[in-house]
Symmetry: C2
Subunit: 420 residues, 2 copies
């Protein structure tokens, strides 16, 4: 017997038929003798509808009221899943954030979970074998007693936090992919599913826009040492042996990965634009003068590269923004030219960022150098480079994305070999 958290996202609960399918997944685990808490998102599309209403009501809306409105989506799903489970003979009840309670900070719209009381759930597991169906994404602020939400994708965080609170043996994240891959299989046909990935690596994946899990949920799992298992919600519940090892990827501590590879995967994002500010004054405050106006214009700046000044007075500064924001960003910077003080702007809006991730880089030298050489051999020009302890990223022309990703995937021995 194990204690499990099962989390299902919006597309898995998009209508009653799918909610019933989720109930079958839950019943399978209960039938195998497990104690189960389920975390559900709002039915697909519902949160968007609710957010749109808030915006229609007022361009600038009160985050307290926004939370009261949007939290209703998860409330509905939790009740419906409890009904479906009961109809299958599984003892179940729904829990709202304020009922459990899930105490959060008062940062409405993007609150942080402070503590969850798991006692009631554990008691009910033991006494009544009752499945807890918990509305994800929401909590309550202790002092004000008002509903809070955790920000988009917050149900992942709810799931991991509940898993920590009830000391679950595993937190299963059911999603539309059956795990974490070494790269996007649509681009790299030889990409393979990772059996295990370390929290730190998964954090990089999540930050790089692989939308499998919310960044904060991975952080939380790392802090509380929750074994997170990413698996497919599309598998037929009947086909799964609850005692076997289903397909999926376990996100776990570095120590739990016996054969750690140097590189775990290749991530990439297209639709990036690169902006270079030439001969900008190399003095304190200049970064603020550049990125302040961009932030005010709600333009998300990603990778920033600043080289050491060659002449001691000026330097070149390069960064990326979403391609869709390229024109706006250059406009903002042109307007602020006098204030910033630079010679000219260069840029391109057909750029890709390719990243190589692997915790093994910490202890292996020359991992990046190997990549630069391989890309050069293919005639791929590297526009900029950034590195961190367990990953490095290069900016290249978007046209070379697939070639670069496949080249690196082979280079680091990530290709499937079993079926070749």
């Amino acid at each position: 017997m194990a204690r499990l958290v099962m989390k299902f996202g919006g597309t898995s609960v998009a209508d009653i038929e799918r909610i019933r399918n989720v109930a079958r997944h839950v019943k399978r685990e209960v039938g195998a003798g497990h104690e189960v808490a389920v975390i559900v998102s709002a039915m697909a599309g519902k949160t968007n509808e609710l957010v749109a209403w808030c915006r229609e009501a007022s361009a600038v809306y009160d985050a307290d009221e926004y939370d009261a409105v949007v939290a209703s989506g998860e409330q509905v799903t939790s009740g419906l899943l409890a009904i479906c489970l009961q109809a299958m003979g599984v003892n179940a009840r729904s829990w709202q954030g304020w009922q459990l309670p899930v105490h959060t900070s008062d940062a409405h719209g993007s609150a942080r979970i402070l503590d969850i009381n798991g006692k009631a759930l554990i008691e009910r597991f033991r006494q009544d074998r009752e499945v807890a169906v918990i509305a994800g994404f929401q909590g309550v602020h202790k002092d004000t007693n008002r509903i809070t939400t955790l920000g988009r994708g917050g149900s992942d965080t709810s799931a991991v936090a509940v898993a920590a609170a009830i000391q679950a043996d595993r937190c299963d994240i059911y999603t539309d992919v059956d795990g974490i891959y070494t790269s996007d299989p649509r681009v790299v046909p030889r990409a393979r599913r990772l059996e295990k990935i370390a929290f730190e690596e998964m954090l990089e994946y999540a930050s790089l826009g692989a939308k499998v899990m919310q960044v904060r949920s991975v952080e939380l799992g790392m802090v509380h040492n929750v074994r997170i298992f990413v698996r497919s919600s599309f598998d037929r519940p009947e086909d799964i042996d609850p005692h076997g090892t289903p397909p999926g990827t376990l996100i776990c501590n570095e120590e739990d990965i016996v054969e750690q590879q140097v590189v775990t995967g290749i991530a990439f994002s297209k639709d990036e634009a690169q902006i270079s500010i030439r001969r900008v004054q190399d003095k304190p405050g200049v970064a603020a003068a550049i990125f302040g106006p961009l932030a005010e214009a709600n333009i998300n700046v990603d990778m920033i590269v600043q080289n050491v000044s060659a002449d001691g007075a000026t330097t070149d500064l390069t960064f990326t923004v979403p391609a869709a924001d390229y024109d706006r960003a250059t406009g903002v910077l042109a307007k602020a030219k006098d204030k910033i003080g630079y010679e000219r702007l260069d840029g391109a809006n057909d750029i890709a960022k390719v990243s190589v991730i692997g915790i093994g880089m910490r202890s292996h030298a020359g991992v990046a150098a190997k990549a630069f050489r391989a890309l050069a051999e293919r005639g791929i020009n590297i526009r900029a480079i950034t590195t961190s302890e367990i990953k490095f990223s290069v900016l290249i022309d978007a046209a070379y994305t697939e070639l670069a990703v496949r080249t690196l995937h082979s280079l680091y021995d990530l290709d499937t070999v079993r079926h070749s």
Copy 2:
């Protein structure tokens, strides 16, 4: 300065534009210096959608979970109205049933309000001139901490209960009619709006299917002596003088009505079917044998007439059911013929019930006799009669409904005379 409760139903909050219109109504009262609590229903259609999902999830669903699902509709409206009010510069916040709290019984799906704590609202009126936007229809059970709902139309009850809790000077029910009429103006063009109506009379109206207010909300108003004012939500907020007397009908104590008329109004319902059981055994338990199976088949029996037995052994028993249930009802009774013991069934499914209501009947004799005579003069056959202290009802052929209603309306001097 007065303390007001304002209640808006589903059609008044069907979309953001209408919710904004509601906000304008509220702002008008706040601008006049009043302290305001608003009770809102779910946006039109939402409750039906949520109920349909529950039914799709399971034919027999848990009422606890049903409540968690359907209560979300009012939650959404309360947040959206608070946003609209804030956008107009009116200080406002939403309250869910569990936040106030509105404590109810644990009869999920049709809970009764036990108590409401109005202290927090009154404090906030005084300190911050804050409008309370309260989700109607919902509450919470004290011991289980679970969401409850009050049954369809329950927002009226929420409004009256909140009005009692905060000792409101008036409880305004905004609806799609501008008050209570002496009869349905579509049938009786000369029907006129009543300025005042006694609680007891309004209870009869509500029971007879005039869908302006839920029966229980009227009962609650009577018990707690809440002045309920039925008025139109379609009036443009700008056209209303908050210090004047708007069009509408005040539901109040009998004593507050100076010139009480003998008859207040004529109600009617078509789509009734009449079933007569001929020569049924006149013995204890026979009523249970008849109405038990009908209740089990979910057939709503309305008017029941049983005459004193003429031969001491058998009697005729007549009652009405909705016309749509006529075939099912006769089927049920035919099946139970041996158990009940009767000679034959008679019936008709094109029947109307016409009712004459007036608290003055208590002290005036011959009110009904006058009606029977007038109907006879018009050649309208009365099939059955029931009476109570302040109303009497007759069953007639549906074809004569309009004639009968208009005849009675004139008979009791209810016709508008001002404009004739």
